[in-house]
């Protein structure tokens, strides 16, 4: 099963880069060759954030598999993110 993920960040800040690094690392190790990852900067594309109803940054959205799920906040704790993504369940 391919995991389709969108990561919403705000601007080119240290926080944004940290979030990107964490999610890339998790995807590489736990979703090897079965993920699509997209990055959206809400400051550059607020209309996209409006459609997706994003409020907080950073927010990782699991678009597929459904139901749609938003994971907000710091992603430093990889296990928490993996748990929230429910990777084990969908395996």
């Amino acid at each position: 099963m391919i995991f389709r993920l969108s990561l919403y960040i705000s601007g080119e800040s240290a926080r944004s880069y940290a979030a990107i690094r964490h999610i890339q690392a998790i995807a590489r190790s736990h979703l090897t060759d079965r993920h699509e990852l997209e990055f959206i900067d809400v400051l550059k594309d607020p209309e996209r954030a409006e459609r997706a109803k994003i409020m907080a940054t950073p927010t990782l959205v699991r678009e597929f598999p459904g139901p749609r799920k938003k994971i907000m906040g710091e992603f430093g704790d990889h296990n928490a993110v993996i748990q929230a993504l429910e990777i084990e369940i969908y395996n």
Partner: protein, 507 residues
């Protein structure tokens, strides 16, 4: 009442009738205003009316940030007020930012986050329609969506100050707990806004009473205290600005006839135009007859008269008037008379006031009559009754309308009623109708108790009611204490007593 002073901060017209009067101009421009109220108090209507008026009347486009209600529901709910938000969105005058929680979606909060995406969305909407007015409704619904309420508070403050930097005027609504202890429930209110407005929806004497209070406006002044308001389909939210109505109405010295020749003599030449006349008497003394005489006088001088009947239906009024020789039906057909018959219990007093004002504005009468004013007292608290009377009288004064109010006293003989004490200071003339007992016989007496600005007769005269209406005879002589309800007689002889018994014009 003082006239509105010069304010130091410029204000935006709110588009809410009456609010600008109590706020001395409206909502502080470029500031933030908090609207607090319990559920169902009218916060969303207030906020949307502010935006809708901005976009349609004042050339100020608007952004509505909804945290609770789904946009589709919102658009549908306000259609009843005649607000077409969809068209405004199409015309790029209005934008909605939807923050309502999606029940289909799961959400996990891992902590340490910012609401920058939210800020970016609101900013994008503001720039897209070039908005000058922004509403966040209602921010309390944001808190349950996140783990850290402190973060939400901080971010709200950041968003609001950013919006103010963009040059917009911001209204934030917040839900209040039922206990009315604090302004809001989330600890944001202390520093979130420069101005605080509280909407209340209380149960008083089994009727709902809505009031609005401006609690504070930083750096500017406003009217204090609670003011009643109504929400209805025609105008949305309307505040009844009672004490803000000034006493600067003109007082013409032209006279009009009361319809009764002798009464005109007693008042020194007739009633003043655009004055307020109170006719007070016990049941059956002929108050409705006085109203009918007013109608007769209006018809004769080709003036329009609007009659608000609170105690009798239209049919009954017409029948009684016909018995006194006044043709109500014919007058209605010719367009000189309009009868509005409504039971006071039907709707709240504020709504009655609003409806009366509307009817007066539509019909544009020279005279109005309310029969009886005291019927409205039944359904209200003394405070709201007083507000009702002040609201009505100041409106007819501004419109230069002559108004005749009747008041039913509770006791047959003598004494005054609550209504009299409440409104006697507002009226220009007071006419008393009283029962007088003389030698075991009930007779009727009329007197002009008060007539502002002119001489009037001080005597109590006897009057009769017959097929031609009211016939005023000579003064009672040899009797004291009619008003106190305990008359005493000072006849020195049998002849004098007999003379007193026989009215003047029959001698």
């Amino acid at each position: 009442m003082p006239s509105p002073p010069d304010y130091d901060l410029s204000k935006l017209p709110s588009g809410i009738a009456g609010f600008d009067a109590i706020a001395y101009g409206g909502v502080p421009e470029g500031g933030s205003t908090l609207i607090a109220g319990t559920s169902g108090a009218g916060k969303t209507v207030f906020a949307l009316q502010f935006l809708h008026a901005g976009a349609t009347k004042f050339g100020q486009n608007a952004v509505f940030v909804t945290c609770e209600e789904r946009p589709a529901r919102l658009v549908r709910n306000v259609r009843g007020f005649g607000w077409d938000l969809e068209r405004l969105v199409e015309e790029k005058k209005f934008a909605i930012v939807d923050l309502s929680a999606d029940p289909q979606e799961e959400q996990v909060d891992l902590g340490t986050l910012h609401l920058t995406a939210l800020l970016a969305r609101i900013e994008a909407a503001v720039r897209r329609v070039d908005a000058k007015r922004v509403v966040l409704d209602s921010v309390g619904s944001l808190f349950p969506q996140f783990a850290d309420p402190g973060m939400v508070r901080r971010e709200l403050l950041r968003i609001i100050s950013y919006l103010l930097d963009l040059g917009t005027t911001v209204i934030v609504t917040i839900e209040r707990g039922e206990n009315e202890q604090s302004i809001g429930r989330f600890g944001v209110e202390e520093y979130i806004a420069d101005n605080v407005v509280i909407l209340r929806n209380r149960l008083e004497r089994e009727t709902r009473r809505r009031t609005i209070e401006i609690l504070k406006t930083r750096g500017t002044i406003h009217q204090r205290g609670e003011y009643p308001f109504t929400i209805d389909r025609e105008d949305g939210l309307t505040v009844v600005p009672l004490s803000s109505t000034t006493l600067e109405q003109s007082a013409p010295d032209s006279r009009i006839t009361s319809g009764i020749e002798m009464l005109d003599q007693m008042t020194g030449g007739g009633l003043y135009e655009s004055s307020i006349i109170l006719v007070s008497g016990a049941t059956g003394t002929g108050k409705t007859l006085m109203v009918a005489e007013q109608v007769r006088a209006a018809i004769r001088s080709n003036q329009k008269i609007l009659l608000f009947a609170a105690e009798e239906g239209r049919e009954q009024l017409c029948r009684n008037a016909a018995a006194w020789g006044v043709d109500f039906v014919g007058a209605e057909e010719s367009g000189l008379l309009r009868i509005e018959s409504h039971s006071p219990e039907e709707i709240g007093l504020e709504d009655h006031l609003l409806r009366m004002k509307r009817r007066i504005a539509e019909f544009e009468p020279s005279r109005i009559a309310v029969d009886s004013l005291s019927a409205f007292e039944r359904v209200s608290t003394p405070k709201s009754f007083r507000e009702f009377v002040i609201g009505l009288t100041s409106y007819v004064k501004v419109k230069r309308i002559t108004a005749l109010f009747t008041n039913t006293t509770s006791l047959l003989m003598g004494t005054e009623s609550v209504t009299e004490t409440h409104i006697s200071t507002i009226t220009d003339s007071i006419i008393l109708l009283r029962y007088v007992e003389i030698n075991g016989e009930m007779r009727r007496g009329i007197m002009v108790l008060k007539m502002r600005g002119t001489w009037h007769e001080k005597a109590i005269r006897e009057y009769l009611i017959d097929g031609t209406g009211m016939r005023i005879l000579g003064p009672f002589t040899g009797i004291h204490g009619i008003l106190s309800g305990v008359p005493t007689y000072t006849f020195s002889s049998e002849a004098q007593r007999l003379e007193a018994l026989i009215p003047d014009d029959e001698v």
